[in-house]
């Protein structure tokens, strides 16, 4: 469908082609990722669910789920939003629509092959950087670098005077995540060993969140909320404080992941302090967006994209409160390695950032396709299934984590903790399956939007038109 543009001249490619390609790829990977998550959760609740084959063992499937979601869904949704927000904010075209299309193609091919290799057991054995180093290099130089060049060149060729806060985030974060991937995977290229390797593994894992997932998700909200509500951003100054404090504070607390290891004590203390300072960008972001909503709160009920966005912002509040304090030594001592952390990680990825991205993908696809959403009812179904599924997952895993933490501290025999967790594991599976179901419906809804959605006239936004089915 979009393949014919791969060899076309850049001028002949309609604006938004890359964004559409990225958008549908992202939704597809979201379906795959949450499907795998549901499958894995079933294995944790019922260990004899699918057995007897290496390929469907939990240890082979777990990292495929994680990386399908991070690299497939979240990062491709980011790329999609960058492909339509950056030109819109610079009042210009994408620097190279063709490069964007090629990036999207290489991303899908590279990610598929990387996930298959992981699935059959080719791994570097390092959490969140599990891909073997050739795939790391493809991701870094084949995907992130072209995306970064495209975004930064679009910003450089803008026809506006200033640079809006979202574009500050997009330009800086695509650049910084490249550095993070390059340095974070260096144990593999340069064969670093021992505690240096472990530290760099977690430095990479932490900074993927700190310099890529949470800031870019927040940057999306800086675009969508003013755009949809028609209100100006409450404060550009606070937005910039968010930006700078992310770069300074959120890039440093990596060693809180290894509090029990013999890393230097000064480094662990430094990480704890910096971890609490993350509350500065967190509060700045939440306050800025919620104050932007002033006078338009009815849209939280009426408008699908605002509903998703603001839910994401609300979920950022517990996320950042947990994140700020669970890296202090005393709280870390209680909850490290328990289901609490699993709940927290899903609060960041499936809660805060995913809700913001879903909103941006809904909005962007309608914009780029110039078509109105096929079914508002299905979108509502999607919202409630993802929200209830996520909350079921989050609450059950938080409780399971507190049980595990107490079991650890009071030296309860491990198997008793496993027995106590069993109902929560079932709840986790139900929640994950609800999210998966909602996403399947979403994929159908967006596909039908592209095929039969009502055409939106030029110069109008889809959400400005009365809803019709």
């Amino acid at each position: 469908m979009l393949f014919k543009y791969l060899s076309a001249k850049n001028e002949d490619i309609p604006p938004g082609s890359a964004a559409i390609f990225f958008g549908f790829s992202a939704i597809f990977w979201f379906v795959v990722g949450t499907g795998l998550g549901s499958f894995n959760a079933a294995k944790l609740a019922f260990p004899d669910f699918v057995t007897g084959t290496e390929l469907f063992a939990f240890g082979h499937m777990r990292q495929v789920h994680v990386l399908a979601v991070i690299v497939g869904w979240i990062s491709m949704a980011f790329a999609m939003t960058m492909m339509y927000m950056t030109p819109a904010l610079g009042n210009t075209r994408m620097w190279s629509e063709k490069l964007g299309l090629w990036t999207a193609l290489l991303w899908n091919v590279g990610l598929s092959s990387a996930l298959i290799s992981l699935w059959i057991g080719i791994t570097s054995g390092r959490e969140y950087s599990d891909f073997a180093w050739p795939f790391d290099l493809v991701i870094l130089f084949g995907v992130i670098t072209p995306l970064c060049v495209n975004v930064i060149m679009t910003i450089a060729h803008r026809r506006t005077q200033g640079i809006y806060i979202t574009n500050w985030f997009f330009g800086a974060c695509t650049f910084m995540v490249g550095i993070v991937l390059l340095v974070g995977n260096s144990p593999e290229y340069f064969h670093l060993t021992g505690l240096s390797e472990a530290y760099l593994t977690w430095w990479n894992a932490h900074n993927l969140l700190g310099l890529w997932i949470t800031p870019v998700a927040a940057a999306i909200a800086y675009y969508t909320i003013p755009k949809l509500t028609g209100n100006p951003l409450y404060s550009h100054r606070i937005g910039h404080m968010h930006f700078w404090s992310i770069v300074v504070f959120y890039s440093t607390p990596a060693s809180h992941h290894l509090m029990s290891s013999p890393l230097p004590e000064w480094l662990k203390s430094f990480a704890s302090v910096e971890g609490v300072l993350i509350l500065i960008p967190a509060v700045a972001f939440v306050a800025n967006i919620l104050l932007t909503m002033k006078g338009k709160w009815s849209m939280f009920v009426e408008n699908m994209e605002v509903k998703f966005s603001i839910t994401g912002v609300f979920l950022a509040i517990p996320l950042n409160m947990q994140g700020g304090f669970q890296q202090t030594r005393s709280i870390n001592w209680f909850i490290h390695g328990t289901g609490w952390i699993v709940a927290h990680a899903h609060l960041a990825l499936l809660g805060m950032s995913t809700f913001l991205e879903i909103a941006a993908v809904y909005f962007g696809l309608q914009q780029m396709l110039k078509r109105k959403l096929y079914s508002l009812a299905l979108a509502n179904f999607h919202y409630w299934f993802v929200l209830i599924g996520f909350c079921t997952y989050w609450i059950s895993m938080t409780i399971a984590g507190l049980i595990q933490g107490a079991g650890k501290v009071y030296e309860v025999p491990y198997i008793d903790v496993v027995i106590a967790e069993h109902p929560y594991m079932i709840a986790r599976w139900i929640g994950g399956t609800m999210v998966f179901t909602g996403n399947l419906v979403w994929l159908y809804n967006m596909w039908m939007t592209a095929r039969v959605g009502t055409l939106v006239p030029d110069g109008r936004y889809a959400h400005e038109l009365a809803y019709e089915r």
Partner: protein, 324 residues
């Protein structure tokens, strides 16, 4: 535009990121590089070999080209009885050596000096991580004194004692051979570390499960595979708590045989097709009988088949039992 604010901004991003990188990457590297290898680190390095994750020598992570750990009761060259038995690490020709031999700094002060002067480790010829050693080499650990401090160092027993890889393997026999390195590859590939951490936690684990980790304990290890999510107990010192090979066999074949409430997956596929006697393992029959047992129609569960000496599960159990 006269004032190009984005130039200033880009420089500021570079400065802020550079500062954070300096503090979190460059400064800790001084502390990390000063680590002196402990005995535990040397044992882990020599038994694991070069690399456990993806690499040139074993791209599909099948556990080929790995060193073999043996316990020797007799001297492979002279045939004299060794009391107590010595643990030796056999690198056949072509097997890549652990990184510390190629990068002396990884061993740390004293350990490297002793290993070079007393242990003759630099006498190994032609090793790199793709081709491995030319003639093969046998390493052992020995105790020495450096500046008044007692340190464990690496000895090249092929040079100091004349032990060849083949003679050493023959002297040990299959009973005293441990496929620890291949077992760690299995540990990584099967994703055991998604649930079992290898990093005991402060206070509670250090009291109940064994010694806290020291800075030098991890020298040369790659990947460290600490794990982060503990759906199951920490296993850094598991063999000190349970060293029964029979228990491990039952536990890996179907964890519900030894612990009805376990949520660990079955690893019966690591047995392969044939058992120790060369008979084909009938998994369907086993499962049917196990089902009868689990609903109360049988008094005892079916017997777990003996694994073949070259099976993947043997290597995995060898590795688990090396964690003391």
């Amino acid at each position: 535009m006269a004032f190009k604010e984005y130039r200033l901004g880009a420089a500021m991003v570079g400065g802020a990121l550079g500062l954070s990188m300096t503090i979190t990457l460059f400064m800790p590297s001084f502390d990390l590089r000063s680590a002196v290898s402990t005995k535990m680190a040397l044992e882990k390095q020599l038994s694991a070999g070069f690399d456990i994750g993806f690499g040139y020598a074993d791209p599909l992570l099948l556990g080929i080209n790995r060193p073999i750990t043996v316990d020797l009761e007799t001297d492979p060259k002279t045939g004299a009885k060794l009391d107590p038995p010595i643990r030796a690490y056999v690198y056949k020709p072509g097997v890549p050596m652990p990184p510390n031999i190629r990068h002396p700094h990884d061993l740390g002060k004293g350990v490297y000096d002793l290993s070079e002067s007393q242990g003759q480790i630099t006498a190994v010829s032609g090793s790199n991580h793709t081709k491995g050693t030319q003639e093969g080499v046998v390493f052992t650990l020995a105790l020495g004194e450096f500046n008044g401090e007692e340190l464990t160092y690496i000895e090249n027993a092929s040079v100091t004692k004349g032990w060849t890889p083949d003679a050493t393997l023959a002297a040990a026999g299959d009973k005293n051979t441990h496929l620890i390195s291949k077992g760690k590859t299995e540990f990584v590939v099967q994703g055991c570390w998604w649930c079992h951490t290898l990093l005991p936690e402060q206070t509670q684990d250090w009291q109940a499960f064994g010694a806290p980790p020291y800075l030098g304990d991890f020298n040369g290890e790659n990947p460290t595979a600490f794990g982060s999510d503990r759906k199951a107990p920490d296993i850094l010192h598991v063999a000190s708590r349970n060293s029964s090979r029979e228990w491990m066999m039952m536990h890996f074949f179907n964890p519900r045989l030894v612990q009805v409430n376990s949520i660990m997956p079955r690893y019966d596929y690591l047995w392969g097709d044939k058992d120790a006697q060369g008979n084909t393992i009938d998994f369907d029959k086993w499962r049917a009988e196990y089902l009868e047992y689990s609903v109360g129609k049988r008094t005892y569960p079916p017997e777990v088949p003996d694994y073949a000496p070259n099976s993947e599960i043997r290597a995995l159990i060898d590795w688990v039992l090396s964690l003391k």
